[in-house]
Symmetry: C2
Subunit: 313 residues, 2 copies
């Protein structure tokens, strides 16, 4: 039996100021996929474990199967595969769960190939997986989960995806409250047009943030890590959001916003302030009567990891 295993981290879409432009890997939870090579063409679901007990056994509704199918198709379908999925990233949390499964599946199946693709070249296949969750697929979670760290989609056509340097000693704290939001619904309520004055405000921030990360300037990061574009239109989806954000900022966070389209809320903080920031955010959720689980990982988080390729006779 020829098999390969890969895991991919959760991710934070948008990173506050980078709507549809930035994503960061968040290695506080990972999805793991074990791919077993089979003679029968096509992809099938094997065991499912972790946070869920079942997943659809169809590439049209399962991001992992869809991504694996895309990899095999690009390689000329030399064989089929059965995928076992261990879900460590919560679903519908705004933590990039569907992207993590797609990335891990693409990497696991890729490792079965006699001439595998380079990891960075798996992006279009993982995007085919993400398309199951959201069409057209959004790059932010997928590229971050694949490449690790803080990733910029500088251009979609032609594709130019670039890891940015990140400041040292900065962590992301994330609180996942026990409610669900739908990405599609959260996107649907965004207005189609943006006032020019707001575009300028947004531009100042994303330029400050990108430059601040690149040169390690916390003042620029603080000035930039704020979403004036989308967050004000979504804040009402999570009643205690305003209080959670205020608590994070007063506790010394560098910035705080929704992770992707929520409901999870994340903050960047210096390592030394992270306990205080996490405590303040947790307490704000408690006061609102909402249970929320805390996660934490360095801003410089590892991306996909191919863990072993083994051949058992």
């Amino acid at each position: 039996m020829i098999r390969a295993s890969a895991s991919a981290p959760a991710s934070i879409g948008n990173v506050a100021v980078g709507f549809d432009v930035l994503g960061q890997a968040f290695d506080a939870a990972r999805d793991r996929v074990i791919a077993v090579r089979e003679e029968q063409p096509g992809v099938r679901l094997g065991e499912v474990s972790g946070l869920v007990q079942s997943l659809p056994d169809c590439p049209r509704t399962n991001t992992a199967l869809a991504a694996a199918e895309a990899v095999l198709a690009a390689a000329g379908n030399p064989f089929g595969a059965r995928l076992s999925i261990d879900k460590g990233v919560p679903m519908a949390a705004g933590m990039g769960g569907s992207a993590a499964s797609a990335v891990a599946a693409a990497a696991a199946v890729n490792a079965l190939l006699p001439e595998p693709f380079a990891i960075a070249d798996l992006l279009p296949f993982a995007l085919e997986g993400e398309r199951v969750a959201s069409d057209p697929p959004h790059w932010d979670n997928v590229m971050a989960s694949l490449l690790g760290g803080l990733v910029l989609a500088a251009s979609e056509k032609p594709p130019l995806v670039q890891r940015l340097p990140v400041p040292e000693g900065v962590v992301a704290v994330l609180l996942h409250p026990s409610i669900k939001t739908e990405t599609k619904a959260a996107r649907a309520l965004l207005r189609a047009e943006v006032p020019m004055a707001l575009v300028v405000q947004h531009s100042r921030r994303i330029a400050a943030f990108a430059a601040g990360c690149a040169i390690g300037d916390l003042g620029l990061i603080r000035a930039g890590l704020e979403d004036v574009l989308v967050e004000p239109q979504r804040a009402h989806l999570l009643a205690p959001f305003g209080k959670v954000k205020k608590a994070a900022m007063e506790a010394g966070a560098l910035g705080c916003s929704f992770s992707g389209s929520g409901p999870s809320v994340f903050a960047w903080a210096l390592e030394k302030d992270a306990d205080k920031v996490e405590g303040a955010m947790s307490w704000a959720f408690v006061e609102a009567g909402l249970a929320a689980r805390a996660y934490r990982a360095p801003v410089l988080s590892e991306g996909v990891r191919v863990e072993k390729v083994s051949e058992t006779v």
Copy 2:
């Protein structure tokens, strides 16, 4: 007689992708102001030389006098001043001429004070000068002419203005055609709202450009140095613009757009390509029957320079 002299460079507003956010000093032309201390309070115009023979002698209509007046007022009006102005930066060219005069005047008068302000702290006074030309005043030309290099207005409230690193061996080439545009008119035709998809495209570019400059990555700079936000709405103001830009890009420019609101057109290019880029742009203007004067300066251009403070009995 106590007098001080200061000069300030031309500047390129917006730097293509940074509408109302970025500016760069352009040390291919400078305005010089000589300030003479006088007992009589208030500011007055002395000699005018260079590209113009006369300027209004009133702080309400002369950016240099207005900036000087603001500096003296902030210092408690300890004396008055007479300003001689040598205009080296063309007016109504989109080369930051009004900002250069305001910055040079503020710095010259400042040098007369017993306890002068720090150069960076002259920004609000120079902006009071720029207000004469455009109210509310735009920061891009003023901050670049003052501080030099490539400057980001990360935040207006509270003010956070930051010089960004620039890639080595890159120059700006600028062609000033013999027609005039009015900043006010060029701004008036901009639409009030921007489609969200375009905001995302713009965000990708400004993030790529800021990060690319900070880490010296020419691929990111190339991907980012493009104005999808404002340029398409202004291109028709200069008939040959499309051909000039195409010529610049085909000659190897990293990017090409209007300088500020035009009519001047600038390009960034590697030093080794600059002759070719300038030649191609010039030729495109010639073919369109428009005379255009070429200027060139390193992207890393010096800002304001206080040249001497002398006391003659």
